[in-house]
């Protein structure tokens, strides 16, 4: 993806792209935190041993990641 913004240097465009990437990464982490907070809030107080409903959310996300991971591997004959 190349952006040609009038009056900007390649260094400025590179810095802008890096900032965009960092924002995306921070957004992904915040999305995970938000999902975990929401899971904890919906589940209410967790009684008993074990990590609880938020850990179950981690497990669910891992299942989705496993599906994507399996599909992403290209077959090399």
């Amino acid at each position: 993806m190349t952006w040609r913004l009038a009056g900007t240097t390649s260094g400025q465009r590179g810095a802008g792209l890096a900032a965009f990437r960092m924002a995306g990464q921070a957004g992904a982490v915040l999305a995970g935190l938000g999902a975990g907070w929401a899971a904890a809030a919906l589940a209410g107080p967790h009684a008993g041993p074990g990590p609880g409903p938020v850990a179950a959310l981690v497990g669910g996300l891992a299942v989705l990641l496993a599906a994507a991971n399996g599909y992403s591997k290209a077959y090399s004959p």
Binding site: G52, V58, L65, G70, K73, A74, S76
Partner: protein, 170 residues
Amino acid sequence: MPAVAVWTVLGACLGALPLAEAALPLTAAYAAGYGLIEAGGKLGLPAPGTTWQVPQTMVKGVPRGRRILVWGSVLGPGFATRNPYAGFGLLPLAVASAGSVRGAVLTAAAIGLAHGSGRALALLRDARPGTSASADPMRLVLTSMYWRTFDGYALLVIAGAAVAACAAQL
């Protein structure tokens, strides 16, 4: 089926061990570290795994049923083959984080089913004429880069959720 069986056994073993308390912070650290590397497009620690791939002698010139058995047993679980993305290494940690034997077995079985199904769909996709790696190597490279970035962002989301889980434990 082999994927579900292998992962279920792994889940039973990991669930029986007292790993949950240590596994969640490890999950968060692993996901955050590799997530930043992959999402940022950086070269860093290689994804954990083996570079072994199924030898051609095991599948060429053998009956169809045996070929399917080899592919299903090796590729479905995902352990005994090349894993280019770090997301696969997170999966045993996520199973260990489940906190109970039942939870670990259920999570592991679901992971095995998901990974095996995804792998099977990928094989069907790439078996179509003109879609194999040899047909368009450049497209394969680009697709691999996009999947690496996707894997990185997915790991970052899981890192956030794992941090929230650790905070919930406190």
